[in-house]
């Protein structure tokens, strides 16, 4: 871990790192191109007739992707079977809704408190929960979900709004911008949140924290015996995840101009779970892909009405059992095979034959 070693060792390490740490090879052009496309796309879309509708879908996609990624961070990477994600989303939403609705704060100010309060709530749940094993976490987080729902429905009037949630929460106003212009601003705000969250989660996954988390997930006994403080790591991860989920909750509240108690409905949770499972459980880009697929498909699935839930449940079950990797690894492998950059030459063969450490660096297709 600590590279407080001799200089030659450090130099030797730097050479190995390229292959041992595939995430360092960021495809800068691809990332940059995607961001530029994201900036330019709405400008094009506003010129075509259904463009506005597509922009609202993209906004929805950005927010769902943020929540799905945060959930994947703790569920897929951390192995914490938390079902409190929607409740934390609601905590964020309610925080900013109450601040702007009851106290009359500017939405741009009050939304800053959404992630903070969600984070505090997560620490509150995490302290008793995260010491326990998987099954207990499922139960206690589901319990928190139910409690939050009961509180949102039967709580004091400034929270429950009489049992249906808060309506007439102030929406985001950008100067005098209205209509299409305002939609563009909303889009860019959503995109900024998405980019920040994605970058932060990418950093977390590829930091020592992320490595420790993955180690714990894959072999708890070994990880703990190597001195990883499991509880602390899990709590930090849980808090990070809650932070971005709360932020997304705050954004959606002001975007919709209200938050209803129907956010607690089970189908919402299942949609998010489907995004993670279909896209790729425990992969970096999986939830983003999954969010795109679910939101894209949803437009067509509206037609089949009640069959949608049946189909979604069955797909979820079949993918979980027969293709637990999800779709993303499939896409990534295809990309690497035909279009990807040449993998760097295996360093083990270059200098001295290191026994078994760097034996097959190219086969580790990356933790991402």
């Amino acid at each position: 871990m600590n590279a407080g070693a001799l200089a030659p060792v450090a130099a030797a390490r730097a050479a190995v790192d390229q292959a041992a740490a595939p995430w360092r090879r960021v495809p800068r052009t691809a990332v940059g191109g995607t961001v530029v496309a994201g900036i330019l796309l709405p400008l094009v879309l506003t010129r075509i007739s259904i463009g506005d509708y597509v922009i609202t879908l993209l906004i929805l996609f950005f927010m769902q992707a943020v929540v799905a990624q945060s959930w994947n961070l703790i569920m897929g990477y951390g192995g914490i079977y938390s079902f409190a994600q929607v409740a934390l989303f609601a905590v964020g939403g309610w925080t900013t809704a109450v601040l702007s609705h009851s106290l009359g704060w500017n939405p741009f100010i009050s939304i800053l408190f959404a992630p903070v309060v969600a984070l505090l709530a997560a620490v509150g749940i995490g302290l008793p929960t995260l010491r326990l094993r998987g099954v207990y976490v499922v139960l206690l987080t589901l319990a928190f979900h139910q409690l939050a729902r009961v509180f949102a429905v039967t709580g004091p009037r400034f929270i429950s709004g009489g049992g249906y949630g808060l309506v007439s929460v102030p929406t985001f106003q950008f100067g005098n911008a209205i209509g299409e212009q305002r939609l563009l601003y909303l889009y860019y705000l959503a995109m900024v949140i998405f980019v920040i969250a994605t970058f932060a989660i990418w950093r977390v996954i590829h930091s020592p924290l992320g490595v420790a988390v993955t180690a714990l997930r894959d072999s708890e006994t070994y990880g703990v015996s190597r001195g990883i403080n499991q509880f602390r790591i899990r709590l930090i991860l849980f808090a990070i995840s809650a932070f971005f989920t709360g932020l997304a909750g705050g954004y959606m509240t002001h975007y919709n101009g209200g938050i209803s108690t129907s956010v607690f409905d089970f189908p919402r949770l299942i949609d998010l779970l489907a995004m993670i499972v279909i896209g790729g459980w425990g992969t970096f880009a999986g939830p983003i892909l999954g969010a795109g697929i679910i939101i894209g498909l949803d437009q067509y699935l509206v037609a089949i009405g009640d069959y949608r839930a049946l189909l979604e449940g069955l797909i979820l079950a079949f993918i979980a059992v027969f293709a637990p990797q999800g779709l993303w690894p499939l896409i990534r492998n295809t990309y690497n095979k035909y279009l990807g950059p040449e993998p760097p030459a295996p360093p083990a063969a270059v200098e001295q034959p290191t026994p078994d450490l760097g034996a097959t660096p190219e086969s580790s297709g990356g933790g991402a």
């Binding site: 079977y81 008793p128 010491r131 326990l132 998987g134 099954v135 207990y136 499922v138 139960l139 206690l140 589901l142 319990a143 928190f144 139910q146 409690l147 009961v150 039967t154 089970f266 189908p267 299942i270 779970l273 499972v277 459980w281 009640d306 069959y307 949608r308 839930a309 049946l310 979604e312 449940g313 069955l314 797909i315 979820l316 079950a317 079949f318 993918i319 979980a320 059992v321 027969f322 637990p324």
Partner: protein
């Protein structure tokens, strides 16, 4: 005072026996297969709807519908085992896969119930009708039947596990899977047996409870959460724990309901379980990782 007290005790014992019945299935499956069956609530409504179907569409008496519902729920659980559980047994991602798969199944079952029947509340006739009044509280015969049945089933399951070949095989598998398979116990078939038994128990709970709770596509969720709480409270995999915890939690919830109001019942139970887990992380009768069942 006394009426309220009797009311609370009666409600508690009734709820407790039902929670115990649901939790018994969950705890059996957890103990033997190490599977957290989040589709348990779905199997509960499968049994109840099957019985409803027999009564409403075939116009047969409930005494025929009851075994039909139980068998149907057991068969459903076994089919679930064949399709979704068996392929992943022994694979590295067993926990993830089964967790997501059982959630998916429970969604699909609710959706199917919504499509086949409709969202309206269904009424399944009670097996025994009529009631008597004790200290101003109405005691239904159906309620008494539920309590007696669930106590009898606990005894039956306990005897089954202790004295029959199959039961001993289940215990062996749950204690040491590898050693059991070396003794030529068919491990995977034993898993299937346990899951089918658990499904039948959930179905029985569904049929017996439907007259009290009414039946709609979502009504499996709350009993399942309660059963989960009971299972964990009693100690995962412990049958005695499920029985005791069922009554403890049922009576606790009932007293909170009667004396503090219905809206406090569920939060109260959650707070109790959180405190419990802080004090005894393995539950009331939790026996750690070595010995189960």
């Amino acid at each position: 005072m006394s009426t309220q007290f009797v009311q609370a005790v009666w409600g508690g014992v009734l709820f407790g026996s039902v929670y115990g019945l649901m939790a018994l299935g969950l705890t059996l499956v957890w103990g033997a297969v190490r599977l957290l069956n989040l589709a348990h609530g779905a199997i509960f409504i499968v049994g109840a709807y099957a019985a409803y179907w027999v009564v409403a569409f075939l116009h047969l008496p409930i005494l025929i519908a009851l075994p039909f519902g139980v068998l149907f729920a057991g068969a459903f659980a076994y089919a679930m085992h064949l399709v979704f559980i068996r392929p992943v047994i022994g694979k590295p991602g067993f926990d993830n896969s089964t967790l997501v798969a059982t959630v998916g199944i429970s969604i699909a079952v609710s959706a199917a119930a919504l499509l086949i029947f409709n969202p309206e509340y269904k009424v399944v006739p009670p097996v025994l009708s009529g009631s008597t009044i004790v200290a101003g509280v109405q005691i239904t015969y159906q309620g008494l039947l539920v309590i007696v049945t669930s106590l009898a089933l606990f005894g039956l399951v306990y005897a089954f596990l202790s004295y029959t070949r199959q039961g001993m095989a289940i215990r062996a598998v749950s204690q040491q899977t590898e050693a059991a398979s070396l003794m030529s116990i068919p491990v995977v078939q034993t898993y299937g047996l346990v899951i089918a038994i658990s499904g039948a128990l959930a179905g029985l709970a569904g049929v017996l409870l439907a007259p009290t709770f009414f039946l709609n596509p979502q009504s499996g969720f709350n009993p399942m959460i309660q059963a989960l709480i009971v299972t964990i409270f009693g100690g995962l995999g412990s049958i005695r724990g499920a029985l005791v915890a069922g009554f403890v939690l049922g009576i606790f919830e009932s007293f909170v309901e009667v004396f503090y109001g219905v809206s406090w019942a569920q939060p109260g139970v959650f707070i109790l379980i959180i405190l419990m887990l802080i004090v005894r992380p393995n539950g009331l009768f939790g026996i750690g990782e070595v010995r189960r069942l």
